[in-house]
């Protein structure tokens, strides 16, 4: 479903961050990427979703067999690519509900589907918000403004649940969560697992992977995937740290 070959990317003009990354995530699988800070995990998520200034300088990204190069971020979003941001952005003055509705209907329009009616939308959001412990009051507030770290992460997952993307990238969705919130968020993520959906779970720690059992674990270091394995690899990293891979890279 996602095929990345020899991906190179630079940010801030010419600073190479991704240096020949290969990764393949088939439909229905959940892959985890673990790696030390600064290894380029967030950069990868931005290159995949088309952030300005994060273009690939070499290599290819195929999503559902289609090259994403040259596709605008909203085009990729409409095709079902979703990024749960490491740092969700505060948007003052735009109520959370309004934003979600605009986003959903923009995606639907882009796919040539009918817009969702306001009552249907409210019903969907209410049901899904409840599972994630998100209050109606929170949804009326401006998007992410003044939300705690945990609230922001839960809201990212709510947006995923409402937008029903086909491929999810979760960038450190576990950071800033206490044990209870981690459980709520992981349950939310697990509910989105499906044979039709792929997931890339970026994390620094093993603890999220205790809840979301990945099919494959990759280790990223200095802009490349340097090792891949089963869930046991995450356990090994937890016990021994990244030293071995950082030195190898």
């Amino acid at each position: 479903m996602l095929e990345i070959k020899n991906l190179h990317a630079s940010v801030g003009g010419d600073k190479p961050i991704l240096k020949g990354l290969d990764l393949s995530v088939p439909k229905g699988e959940v892959h985890a990427i673990m790696g030390p800070n600064g290894s380029g995990k967030s950069t990868l998520s931005y290159v995949l979703t088309g952030r300005d200034g994060y273009e690939a300088t070499d290599g290819t990204i195929l999503y559902d067999g289609e090259d994403v190069a040259g596709m605008a971020p909203e085009e990729r979003a409409a095709k079902g690519l979703f990024l749960s941001f490491q740092y969700p952005v505060e948007i003052p003055g735009v109520p959370t509900l309004t934003f979600m509705k605009e986003a959903l209907n923009a995606q639907r329009r882009a796919r040539g589907e009918d817009e969702m009616s306001a009552p249907d939308f409210m019903k969907t959001v209410r049901e899904k918000a409840k599972l994630l412990n998100i209050s109606g009051d929170m949804l009326k507030r401006p998007l992410n403004v003044g939300f705690s770290g945990g609230e922001k992460k839960r809201l990212e997952i709510l947006q995923a649940a409402v937008l029903e993307p086909r491929f999810l990238i979760l960038d450190e969705t576990d950071s800033g969560l206490d044990i209870d919130a981690l459980k709520v968020v992981s349950d939310g993520v697990n509910a989105l697992r499906s044979p039709e959906r792929g997931m890339l779970v970026i994390t620094h720690y093993q603890r999220l992977l205790d809840h979301i059992s990945p099919d494959v674990v990759h280790v990223m270091s200095d802009g490349k995937i340097v090792a891949s394995g089963g869930p046991e690899l995450a356990k090994e990293l937890e016990a021994e740290g990244y030293d071995k891979y950082v030195r190898a890279a």
């Binding site: 979703t49 088309g50 952030r51 300005d52 605008a72 971020p73 909203e74 979003a77 409409a78 979703f82 990024l83 941001f85 969700p88 952005v89 505060e90 948007i91 003052p92 003055g93 735009v94 934003f99 979600m100 605009e102 986003a103 959903l104 923009a106 995606q107 882009a110 401006p142 947006q159 937008l163």
Partner: protein, 369 residues
């Protein structure tokens, strides 16, 4: 029934607060002595009226109607259809329409400038203890240069809410000045929305007597290609215990130019003044420009006064976030800009009016990208 007749009431009306609105006289005297203001004139350094009005000639008309008298009426002054006369009109006008909407709670005023050079003026009085809401709407044909002066007197206990919507044609110039006198315990709440126009200057010269007088001055400007909006305010706090809250927000895009000049002058007698002035501008692209000069002149020692000025650009990360969720870039931009400006509309109490204004702003912003 409100009084709508040209009178010379202006002087009379202002007598109880003598000297307070002397700025018009001062400005006229200065014009007579030094001639037209140029960009070397500190008060006009960012707004080149002479240049903007080049090529606009002939006698124009300001037409006018109100919710009291919905027929379009001509309020043009007969003689002197030239630039100089127009600035004199801006400074102190003869042709005064006088309103004292004693029995009204809402007054809609519509000013329309036809092609050519023209002037008009009005005075609106908030009678003691009365509460009135006034909506002023300014529009123009192309190639109009109009100077309009609208003065307000807010008597003790009166509350006046004033919404000014300026929606000018691209080739037109409007100089709109407001002399406002707020007496003790009076309240004056103004929101200006300025969009379009080759050059539009809205100038508020306000005098507050203090004594519990409350003043709110909000404004939003949006200037696109070829547009210039100048929002100038000077607030004079004369007596103790006056309140001022001022927020101006604006965006410039596609080569538009925004100007904010705000001065608060606190007299020695105006102890316990509480005054806040904020300007926030957003420049969307490199072709556009915003100039701002907030100033405080404080002669009293026991006051709380603050001013802030911030000029930024569109938050690229916010834009990307919204696009990632599926919003097309143009829609994301518009949403960000609208929500940015919205804070300046918060004091418009009439929902319908606020909605109309938001709609007109959205329409303008269609050419944002």
């Amino acid at each position: 029934m409100a009084v709508i007749e040209p009178t010379n009431a202006l002087e009379q009306v202002l007598l109880p607060f003598k000297g307070a609105t002397g700025w018009r006289g001062d400005f006229a005297a200065r014009l007579k002595k030094d001639g037209l203001p140029t960009r070397r004139d500190e008060d006009w350094k960012w707004s080149d009226v002479a240049r903007a009005t080049k090529g606009i000639t002939g006698a124009g008309k300001v037409q006018f109607r109100s919710s009291v008298n919905p027929e379009w009426t001509e309020v043009r002054r007969a003689a002197d259809q030239d630039f100089f006369a127009n600035l004199l009109a801006f400074a102190g006008v003869m042709n005064v329409t006088y309103f004292e909407p004693r029995n009204l709670t809402v007054l809609d005023l519509d000013f329309r400038a036809l092609k050519g050079v023209s002037q008009a003026a009005a005075t609106i009085v908030g009678a003691p203890g009365m509460s009135v809401r006034v909506h002023e709407h300014y529009s123009s044909e192309a190639q109009a240069f109009s100077a309009i002066g609208v003065d307000y007197v807010v008597w003790p206990g009166a509350r006046v809410e004033r919404v000014i919507l300026i929606d000018e044609a691209p080739e037109s110039v409007l100089l709109l000045s407001s002399g406002v006198t707020v007496h003790e315990t009076g309240e004056f709440v103004q929101t200006v929305i300025s969009q379009g126009g080759k050059l539009v200057r809205h100038e508020t010269q306000l005098h507050s007597a203090g004594g519990g007088a409350k003043v709110t001055l909000n404004a939003a400007y949006l200037v696109g290609k070829g547009a210039h909006a100048d929002l100038t305010t000077r607030v004079n706090m004369h007596g103790p215990d006056g309140k001022l809250s001022q927020l101006t927000k604006g965006i410039a895009y596609g080569g538009g130019h925004g100007v904010f000049q705000g001065k608060i002058h606190v007299k020695r007698e105006a102890q316990k003044t509480d005054a806040r002035m904020t300007h926030k501008g957003m420049i969307i692209d490199e072709k556009s420009e915003i100039d701002a000069k907030p100033e405080l002149e404080i002669y009293a020692d026991d006051v709380e006064c603050a001013h802030g000025n911030a000029i930024g650009t569109l938050d690229e990360m916010a834009l990307f976030y919204m696009q990632q969720r599926g919003l097309p870039e143009s829609e994301a931009r518009r949403l960000l800009v609208e929500s940015f400006l919205d804070e300046a509309l918060a004091e418009i109490t009439h929902e319908q009016t606020a909605a109309t204004i938001r709609g007109l702003m959205s329409k303008r912003l269609k050419d944002l990208v």
